[in-house]
Every structure is written in C-alpha cells, then in structure tokens.
C-alpha cells in the first residue's frame, strides 16, 4: 500500500512536470481540527483513563501507555523490555497463549505489545460490539501475565535473529551511531544490545522488569472509537484491583550538541547512508511549531527543498527525508538519505547549502503557504478518522505536559507562522558547525569526498 501511494505520488509528479496543465481551483482555508469531548478519570490505584467517542466505523482502539521501556534498562539490559513485552503475549495466569490468541481474535482485534524507548504500549483495535471483552483481555495481560520461562529460549532466538539482520542494515547502523553520539551513556542512545548480553537474559530478568515497571501508577489507558455501552464501568472493574506500584522515575537527558563525524565502513556499498542532525527545541518550547513547519519546508515533505534539490534536480537519492523526532521534553532534527556512493560529498554539500540558504533568507510567502496548508490539512486528515491516530495525539500532549487545547489550536498555529520566523528558527537551531555527521558506506571511495566534514566548519 505504501509503495502504491508512492507510485500515485510519482504519477502526480510526472503530470506536473509534463505539459502546461490547467491549474486546479484554489483550495479553501484549512479546516480547524475539533477534538471531540474526552472522559478523563483516575482509578483509586492511580491509573489514568481517557475515553473518546470517535470515528465512523464500529471499531474501538484500546492502548495502555505504560512508563516502561528502554529508559528502564541498565546498559547491559538493552532489549530486556522487548523480551518482557514478547513474554507478555505468551498467556496469563488463567489463559494459555493459544487461548489468549483465540479469545483476542474473537473480538476482531489483535494483541499488540510494543516496547519503545519511554513507553510500552499494550492494546489493539477490536470491533465495537466486543470492546468490553477486549478491554478485559488487555487487563488480564497487563495485570496477570504468566511470563513462562519455557518460551524464553525461543523468544531470545527471535531477538538474536532480528539483531543479526539489523546489524547488516546500513540505516540501522547509522541510526545507532547517531543516537549514541547524541545521547552518550544514556538509554536514549542505546538501540541494540550486545549479543552476549542478550544471550544471558533469563525469565527471572523479565519477571523483575515486569514487576518494577508494570503497574497502575505507570499507566494511562486510552479507549477511542465508536463506544457502545458503559465502558467506563468495564475499565473500572477490569483495572481497579491492579497494584498501584511506585511512581515512575522522572526521566532526563541532555543531548549533545556538538560537531562530530563518523564514517562506518561498508566495503563495496553502492550507496552511502547519511544521518546528519542535532538536538532542537522540544514540544514544550514556543519554537516547536515554527520548527515543525520549517522542517516540513526544508526536508520533511515531498515538496521540500532538500528533496527537490538532491532527488528531483540532481538524482542523487530516491527518498531523502528530514524529521523532528521527539522524546519527553526534548527533540532532535535529522536529515537521512541513502545516496549514490560517487555523489556522497556533493549530497552533503547540497543539504548544508539548503540549510544555510534558509538561515539567510526567509522563504517566499507562496512556498510557505503551500507547506502550511499541507501540514494543517494532513493533521486534520490523519486524526479525523482513525481512533488510533487520535490516541497517539492525546498521548503526545499528555506525556509532554501540554494542554489538550494544543490539538485544537494546532492548525491555526501552523497557519500563522511567518516567513521571518522560519528563517529565525533555522538560524537559531540548525547550526551546521554543531551537527553530528554519520555516514555508512564504502570508506575507500568516500574518504576524500567527506573530508571537509570531518572537522567543524562554521
């Protein structure tokens, strides 16, 4: 489906570059995003709950965000959160893995447990008429997982296989080095375990990880979709006996903002994988939305400057992309691209050229307007129909300590960013002399090309 959308986008581009075509009528002003009313409450054990009546199809998304993940792992425990998450799918005190899988399927849902850096999400999307049963099953998995030792060898073998595959992927290698550079000696900078550590993990380690990190006080449950019946009561009953646990520890990270350069050798590679970026203001900063718009204009969309330059005009790469990636109270900007080996140096040069151009000159109003309309429209489209998407947005503002009104004001805030602000945030944050450069490629063909970036050049 993704491929197909890309093809559609390409066909549209071809049409645009072809003969002069009739201009489409001017679009209207972007519609505002209306966040539907939410029902928010906290159970006696401290678990937070949000219910949202949402969407058009009879399905309900249920996601528990548990403060448990990479940040709770010691340096020699990377992926222990993942092993724990996988084990939690292997049945509960009263349900075997097979029975659990069958009962989940009977609700039209899937059990998805996704351990991330800061949160593990547990949940899925089921049919509305089975929502109560689905919530009960999720509660059972969260509160009473059996964490069977018998499954640990198989699951560790699965993780070892996944690790072996990831270590052959240039994108994974570049990301690993980039995050290590930005977050040294921090769980935020550790994305892969040492194979020897992984081999040593036991069922007891997973049980301890579960006990320390999965509890009511660590959890915010979101339920969104076409909700039938009294799901508040269902949630109450299903979770009220869960132990409160300890308050999750406050997380902090102080990402490094300094020039660095790493060239990871991949002999014979026909392409070089680039990661170039640095920390920027997080979601709590007033600069965040201007940064978001700036990123979309600079490299974060198909029509963006870096993409137009190194993909459309020069043909150095197929799918370059810049993004702002957030963690709690912090963010970093990064441009990633797989570029042809022989034009690795020129690609970096053009990326920096586009950054510096935007630092010096505000973008033309028409260009900015197109990007703003795109970003605002996309926000409304993405979040109007899928209950899962609105849960993602609610969790984003809740976990960042932002007001829920952030979501209803987002479109208007995006639309009111001025060209001079774009220039100002680029100049303030995207400092090439403070960027981390990570390149994975054929060292023998790259050494000369990338030499200018080995040292900091203001």
């Amino acid at each position: 489906m993704i491929l197909r959308l890309c093809l559609l986008a390409c066909v549209a581009c071809l049409a645009a570059f072809g003969q002069q075509k009739e201009q489409p009528p001017e679009g209207g002003p972007p519609k505002p995003f209306h966040l539907p009313p939410t029902e928010d409450f906290t159970l006696g054990n401290g678990m937070k709950v949000t219910l949202v009546q949402y969407g058009i199809v009879p399905r309900v998304a249920v996601r528990a965000y548990v403060t448990a993940g990479g940040i709770n792992e010691a340096a020699n425990q990377v992926w222990l959160s993942r092993l724990t998450g996988m084990l939690m799918k292997e049945g509960t005190k009263t349900r075997s893995a097979e029975r659990l899988a069958a009962e989940i399927a009977d609700t039209g849902g899937q059990l998805e447990i996704d351990p991330g850096v800061e949160f593990t999400t547990v949940g899925g999307v089921a049919l509305s008429d089975h929502a109560a049963q689905f919530i009960n099953l999720i509660a059972d998995v969260l509160e009473h997982p059996s964490l069977p030792a018998s499954e640990v060898p198989r699951l560790k073998a699965d993780l070892a296989r996944e690790l072996a595959v990831a270590k052959t992927q240039p994108g994974d290698l570049a990301q690993e080095r980039f995050l290590q550079t930005m977050f040294p000696d921090s769980p935020y900078g550790r994305i892969f375990p040492a194979e020897s550590d992984l081999k040593g993990y036991s069922a007891d380690d997973a049980v301890a990880f579960y006990r320390n990190n999965f509890s009511a006080a660590h959890t915010h449950l979101y339920v969104a979709g076409k909700l039938d019946g009294d799901l508040r009561e269902t949630v109450q009953k299903a979770f009220e006996d869960w132990s409160k646990g300890t308050e999750p520890p406050a997380v902090s990270a102080n990402p490094v903002k300094a020039h660095s350069f790493a060239l990871i050798d991949r002999p014979g590679a026909p392409q070089s994988t680039l990661y170039i970026g640095l920390p920027v203001a997080g979601p709590n900063s007033p600069d965040y939305i201007p940064l978001d718009v700036m990123n979309t204009l600079l490299g974060g969309s198909f029509a963006s400057r870096i993409t137009s330059n190194i993909r459309e005009q020069k043909g150095y790469t197929y799918s370059p992309r810049s993004q702002i990636s957030t963690r709690t109270h912090l963010a970093y900007w990064v441009e990633t691209a797989d570029v042809t080996t022989s034009v690795t140096g020129p690609s970096i040069k053009e990326i920096l050229f586009e950054i510096n151009r935007l630092r010096k000159e505000p973008p033309p109003e028409t260009e900015l307007k197109g990007i703003q309309t795109y970003l605002a429209g996309l926000f409304v489209l993405r979040n109007t129909i899928s209950p899962d998407a609105v849960i993602g947005q609610l969790h984003f503002v809740d976990s960042q300590g932002l007001s829920r009104s952030y979501l209803s004001e987002y479109v208007q805030k995006v639309m009111s960013v001025q060209p001079a602000e774009i220039q100002a945030v680029t100049d303030k944050y995207l400092l090439p002399e403070k960027m981390a450069f990570v390149i994975v490629g054929d060292k023998s063909k790259l050494a000369d090309q990338v030499k200018p970036y080995e040292t900091s050049t203001p």
Partner: protein, 172 residues
C-alpha cells in the same frame, strides 16, 4: 471471499494456522507475514492475485524443513473441513478487517473500495454486501479452495540466502 477467509485463517493473526505452526510450535521465525495482493488489498484488483507468505529464519534451519511444516498445515486444510468455531472466529476477523480497510489512509480506503467496485462490478454498493458474502463461506468451500489452489505444483518458493552464489536456475 473464500480467499479472504483462507488468508485470515492461514497467516494473519497470532491465532492463524501458519503462525501457530512456524512461529509458536517450531520457532522457525519471530513472525510471519502475508496476504493476497500485497501491493493493494483483496478488493482493489480484478484478476489472478498472488497469495504470499514470508519469514526470516536462522541459517541452521533449511527451507525444506520449513516447507514441510507449511505442507502439513496445507494438508490439514485440504483433507478435512475446518471447524465451525474457527470459521466463526474468522468471520469476526474479516468484519474487523473490512472496517479497518475503510479507514486506511485517512478515509482514502473507503473511497478506494467504492471506486474498485464501481470499476470492476459497476456496483459500488457492493461495499454493503461484503459482510454477508463472507458469512456465506462454508467449511466445504474452504476445503475445496485449499485443494484447488494451495497445491505445491502451483507455488513458487523464493529463498534468499546472504552470501550464496546464484544457482544455475536462478533460484529455487
């Protein structure tokens, strides 16, 4: 319709037959993915579609071992009707899948389905009939479908082995 059912039954979900056999029972892979017409979905193409399933396994396990497990699952589908309970579960999964397809890509999924039925059947209202059509699939139809299509002689097995020399035939 019968294909949609077979796909859900075989390869989609932690309760599916191939997941049970290959992931849970033998531990050949951490996951298995698959479906019909993976470039789109089962509604938006009119013609012979490819049914595919794929996984990544350890070098210590041979492709033949895995295919013999796959065959044991296929054999059971071909030799006896599936239990009614499994089929009922499958209907629930299908109903959920239909609604999921409609909300894909910010609602584009529903437009895509309407357009497909308008183009192929001159009847966009077929979108309202899908659930009834899935419900009409019987254990007998699943068994016949498996016998007709899920035959070893109908399939292509691609094995990608890092570092291996290309064989004369260009693959298996």
């Amino acid at each position: 319709m019968r294909w949609g059912c077979s796909t859900k039954l075989l390869v989609q979900g932690d309760d599916s037959l191939l997941y049970e056999e290959l992931v849970k029972k033998h531990g050949y892979a951490g996951s298995i993915s698959g479906g019909i017409n993976e470039l789109g979905n089962m509604f938006d193409y009119d013609g012979p579609m490819l049914w595919t399933a794929s996984l990544i396994h350890d070098a210590s396990v041979s492709a033949d071992q895995i295919m013999s497990s796959v065959d044991s699952v296929m054999d059971s589908l071909q030799s006896k009707p599936v239990e009614q309970k499994l089929l009922d579960r499958n209907r629930t999964k299908m109903r959920s899948y239909i609604y999921d397809s409609m909300t894909q890509f910010a609602g584009f999924g529903r437009a895509d389905m309407l357009a497909s039925f308008a183009l192929f059947d001159n009847d966009p209202s077929r979108i309202n009939e899908l659930e009834t059509q899935f419900n009409s699939v019987t254990p007998d139809l699943i068994e016949r479908t498996a016998r007709e299509y899920l035959r070893p002689t109908n399939r292509t097995v691609l094995v990608w082995e890092p570092g291996a020399q290309a064989s004369a035939g260009g693959g298996q």
